[in-house]
Subunit: 460 residues, 4 copies
């Protein structure tokens, strides 16, 4: 039977393995061990300041906690305790005896667990933001490698207008940037200390909660003890931000899987991001991008799981909340792993300028032709219809508009008699775009500079 | 067959009703009509500034758009168009003829739709924040109505420690406050103008995008045209913030349903928040709170729907994105309706001090007894075990610890010989809590003052 | 204030519009009107048989219900009632007076609503199965149109082995067939009459429930009255089966979107399944298939919504269950619409044999080369490595293995000296497959025959 | 770098740990080791029958596979391989050398993995059905323990009508029974052998697939090789059935948490299903039932995760499908653990007849009073209104209708002058219900007998 701190409450309690296993949280919360020790040390300091611990007891507890932290912490050694809080308290008593029994004065596991979780996220979120920045850095590097390459821009996966490959790649930079912002926003709400909230009513010890917050590096303290012990919205919010970040990257992954087909052939993949087949020796499969496409699945699973648990739950603490540990730990791990893979994979991809260029076919200049007519005074919708009819007619004859003769163009519209030289050149088309944020090389250069500036701010 | 702006592209296109209906977006996007007109007016101004429209054309378009806006907009009149953008453009041409055909110069529906959606949310989110503030106001009023009432504080739905009813009610204030903050954070990312992004490559018209942003009340412009037309994360983020807000309120609702049972009897419900039964005449069912408990369901449905649509979608615009309209419109409506119901219902609930007081039973003072022993020098864990044993012994005899004689207490622990008078009074217990954010009446008063200050800042 | 059947329970009940609207279910359950009338007629017959209604009363009620059913049922006329059950009862009283007040004897809305919902699904599920069969029929027709066309078979979206287009198309037939089976399984559990369960305890009228079941076309009756009124798993199960069916079709849709790109060019789309662009005149976008790719989103939203509502709900009836109507009605509608669009779209797609054939490149015969070596006695893994090395070597030289000379093949492996003539022909490769269910033309013919047999069984 | 079977395909492939870890599936699929060995043995037999393996080779492979199965299979020993298929093949070659390289002849990991998964579920689903039957058995035993106990039946968590505790408990029996049926339905679709489908096109070896199916205990073979390797709907269906089963049990759990409150006090919980508090010594928290309330969360997470992964995935095999392993393995484990805990917990709960009886208050007989009036000829709706008014009047005076004098009853309605003796006795009320499936003791006895018969059929 796992060891608890409340065993005196029940006499002759039967050990039912199937229930013990179902109930025990130690396998799910052991990852918070260091945070539990850290929070316990601060709490001891708080108790001393409030006069609830003598100097000697305090010193003993601190040393004891250090010894506890230094112990082996494998599954075997921790598995005998009900949870991580019980483990640290009872190990402390094993280390220092009687004084250890004072650590829990006025404290509840209900507040400890959220304190630990918040400490955990205060460490992990900045690390995840760094991982996201590494993805951005890889995107910028990829964009910089091929500043002049023109590729087809797709909507509906149909060729639309010519764009710069660098512009395309940078489009994901901003999605990731929003992801980082969302994580920072979540962090603001995480950065609030619940300690001092007791089981739900507050503590009978006159703890200086602001002092505790300072000790543990929190910017503020929670305003209501019931809310403090029952709230898990900060975990949902973190999981959401991470799911959304990976969801955005799943779109990049889908593009890259499509661009890696023989039919598109736009990307050269390093073998490190591919695998082959056990049966078909020619295969070079873009496994890493397929897995990145699937990656939001895990996060979404964590998110939905916690949503279901929290719906309609009575307020304050309920045991159901134990089910937040696994999504929290795995959520952070899964996101970190996917972001690291994304960055590493992006560094191993190269655009094939030849294939991209070849795919910029004449029909993609249809909008340019409309613009040409508009410049010459035709109304937009009229011009659009004119070019559409020409395209349709060419299509019906199985021809490309690029093969149209001057006479044929004139027949389409008299104002098309003189189509400027180099009109059908990809590089010319991208230069016709004029707005900020467009694919015009000058605009892309500005965008690239902004991206670099953002990364400089974030750190190396 | 619904009218389109691209009919010249296909010849003899067959009208297949089942496909037309499946494809048409007008039923889902008609709610954006006014935003489409507003954005079109600004766009006309942008075209004029860029020299793409003459003064006269511009004046005509503006007047035409005003006329279009004034028209009947029932399902019948709009249903003949493919979508809201087509409707406005073609109605404009109906109004003013040729000049109307110039409005779309250099513009794409891909950018229009997200411009409209962002305009919509820039209006709706502040309104939703106000609705959330109304819930907070109702909570504060409810807390103020019964400042001294003590009730059992529950964890695991088991009686834990005495708390103030006002403290309990205010616990939800902070959850709603976080919900408001999340909406504000989302709004920052929404407040970015995509117009000028064209279909995906930017516009061939030299639009002053900052000027357009100013005209439409946006704080900034999007940085990448591909990202601008393909991004829907701002809708997911809004839906998430609303789902989480209602999820937090579902916990209040669950509490209230439980507290309204005959067995708890803690709340008096006004008939306006209840219904009776078609069969059982005595019934008074807390329908509104049951529906509030269910309310995050709808929002979660909208959220999950859009998640599924976006996963693995190629970047930039795809038709799949049309599926964002329904979750957006309904999501905002459903949240507004639930928040309004929550505020109205909270104003029609009264605590029953007698029932709450009667439920504060002696076993709830067990922690106070532990504290008493700790004050007298017993270590916390020792004291906890002592009281636990006493509780267990009483329970086994079918007795309450409140009935213990002095001799019996002394037997439990010699230091319990003299239990202070009034020790088992609820009001005394809440005053024993000392931390900021606790249920101590002074702390609750501070909390209440902070709540009022927040509401004052938010406006009337 | 909406009209109720329990207004005598509360005096001076305040009409709060925001609460009335939030509470009223008539807008969500009016679609069950006919089922409510039908179930009420059967119930009247049950009451008469049990002696609770006289012959004359019974006749009057039946005529009254017929009159009620014949009335206008627009939003305006029904909107004044609390729900569909109230509407039918009170309209009946309007029609026939006093006798109408007897219809509710021993009956509860808790049992009526699930009776109506089950009646609804007993009609709709067979219709949905027919819609799915129409999709299968379209698939079979498409497969039959091009029995000999060979295309690349993809795994990881990389070219794997040559397959018949018909084989590819039929792969979806079986997915849809499983979807139909799941709907049939759900129907078995739906086909159980709850009527006679009362509010939750059963009825005080000695109703012959088996007789009622026979009247309403149910195969059996529910076994426990509490379970009967509180269970909604049959709706979840229906929604799940429909979501999964559309999820499987979203994979077909993704394929078709990819196959419709300029780069693949495998499909000719009829303009009826495509749209063009407001800006780019050349565009022909595969809108219907993009919307089909997105279609499981809606269904998944309905499913997740109801999951959240039901989680942790007290057993028996709770008002939260009202939230099942919208997912039920919309779920059925959305699925029907998507299936109809899928069938119509599939009938408007044609394979481009030329493009498919051209895409069957020599590297796709790598497995055939391995098989060749295996036939000559080389172990499989050895042979696989040999061919893999040859592919790699060719790739490094930028060559195709199709250009290898006899000498070069011999260098790869002596046993490859004599590669049979026609070895690199697609039609030869598919004939090398030998297993049942494989792409060998004979096997595909068998598969096609099985498909037709299944459809013949299903009906026209 | 992890060992693969395709290393000859790439030269000098860089080992990038972060990508290797992200890509390797061995940690997720090692649980299929035994199934892989079993399927491989059958496959060897299939190869021999098809003449692709000599007798000696076959014998050697069989012995080798037995040796492989007997090896240590800890993380360390398997972790060096890419996946479980690679592990078994390469370990076999380690064991028996050259002959081992023949096992993969005409085989693909794409078909192996689904063969293994189906074998796994063919074992696990019957075991899960047994676990569900154990829950049913515990329910039946609990119902049998207290056949005559009457309790309040609740709707909206408000007291409705008296019911038998046994009837209440049995209501969950039928929910679990449906859960078992759904699992059986899923099993029918799982029981189909994919082996022989090759990578996607079928196998070049003339395998007797029906023979293979017989060897491995499958009832049939898949009809289309592309469908066979790409389909994962059978996993979604299993996860859905399990989620729904636990969702139904979450409603029991919610009831039990509420019934275990001090306020209800309906249940005696054995300490084995409860825990106490680290701070509040009196606490006895119903932890197991809280965790059961949360239990569908995990399953729902697995389900949603796989839904997201599959949406819009190209057909046939894609690497994304690797993400099905974790939900499959954990889903089965989590469900098994929750079902076992539910059965064990139900065996440790006892109803408190005294508290339940005391909660059957006079207002719960309101429907009986309506029935009384109806029997005497008053129309139902009239009678309902009359009793409703009486209840309201009593409520306004703060009285119970049980205290009404004969005169007062006559004032309510002349026909209520003589209320039969024992009218307000719970046992009398349940006997007034007459329908099959109702709470009448005779009907509950029939229900109990049906339940036992079902369990007898299922086995011990």
């Amino acid at each position: 039977m796992s060891r608890t701190v409340w065993e005196k409450r029940f006499q002759g309690r039967e050990a039912v393995p199937v229930l013990e296993r179902f109930n025990a949280s130690i396998s799910a919360d052991a990852f918070l061990f260091e945070h539990e020790v850290r929070a316990s040390s601060a709490y001891a300091q708080g108790l001393r300041a409030a006069g609830a611990l003598g100097e000697e007891e305090f010193t003993s507890i601190l040393a004891g906690l250090a010894a506890v932290e230094a112990r082996d912490r494998d599954a075997a050694s921790l598995g005998r305790f009900e949870d991580v809080h019980t483990a640290v308290e009872l190990l402390l008593v094993e280390e220092i005896g009687e004084a250890g029994k004072k650590l829990h004065t006025g404290r509840s596991r209900n507040e400890q667990v959220v304190t630990d979780e918040r400490l955990f996220l205060k460490e992990e979120i900045p690390a995840l933001i760094d991982s996201a920045a590494a993805v951005q850095r890889a995107l910028v590097t990829l964009a910089e490698r091929a500043p002049d390459v023109v590729m087809p821009g797709y909507t509906h996966l149909q060729r639309g207008q010519p764009i710069l490959f660098a512009h395309y790649i940078l489009s994901f930079f901003w999605a990731v940037e929003r992801g980082k912002e969302r994580l920072r926003d979540a962090l603001r709400r995480i950065d609030v200390l619940p300690l001092g909230s007791g089981a739900l009513a507050g503590s009978s010890v006159a703890l200086d909660r602001d002092g505790l917050a300072a000790l543990l590096g929190f910017s503020g303290v929670s305003e209501n003890s019931i809310d403090a012990v029952g709230d898990r919205s900060f975990i949902l919010e973190t999981l959401f931000a991470l799911t959304l970040l990976l969801l955005d990257l799943s779109r990049l992954a889908e593009d890259f899987v499509v661009f890696s087909t023989a039919e598109f052939g736009f990307l050269d993949l390093d073998p490190a991001v591919a695998t082959s087949s056990s049966l078909m020796p020619q295969k070079k499969n873009p496994d890493i991008f397929e897995l990145l496409r699937a990656a939001p699945g895990r996060m979404f699973g964590h998110l939905c799981r916690l949503f279901l648990v929290l719906k309609g739950l009575p307020s304050s603490y309920n045991k159901d909340l134990q089910e937040d540990k696994d999504p929290l730990q795995r959520g952070v791990e899964d996101a970190r792993s996917a972001l690291a893979a994304a960055a590493a994979a992006l560094r191993r991809v190269a655009p094939r300028a030849d294939r991209m260029g070849a795919a910029v076919t004449p029909d993609m200049f249809a909008t340019d032709l409309v613009d040409l007519l508009v410049e010459k005074g035709v109304s937009f919708r009229e011009a659009h219809g004119t070019v559409a009819s020409a395209i349709r007619a060419a299509e019906e004859k199985g021809r490309s508009i690029a093969s149209f003769t001057k006479t044929e163009w004139t027949a389409v519209h008299p104002l098309l008699e003189c189509i400027p030289e180099h009109f059908f050149e990809p590089a010319a088309s991208v230069r016709r775009k004029k707005t900020a944020g467009s694919t015009h090389p000058d605009m892309v250069a500005i965008q690239l500079e902004k991206s670099r500036a953002i990364l400089r701010k974030t750190g190396p």
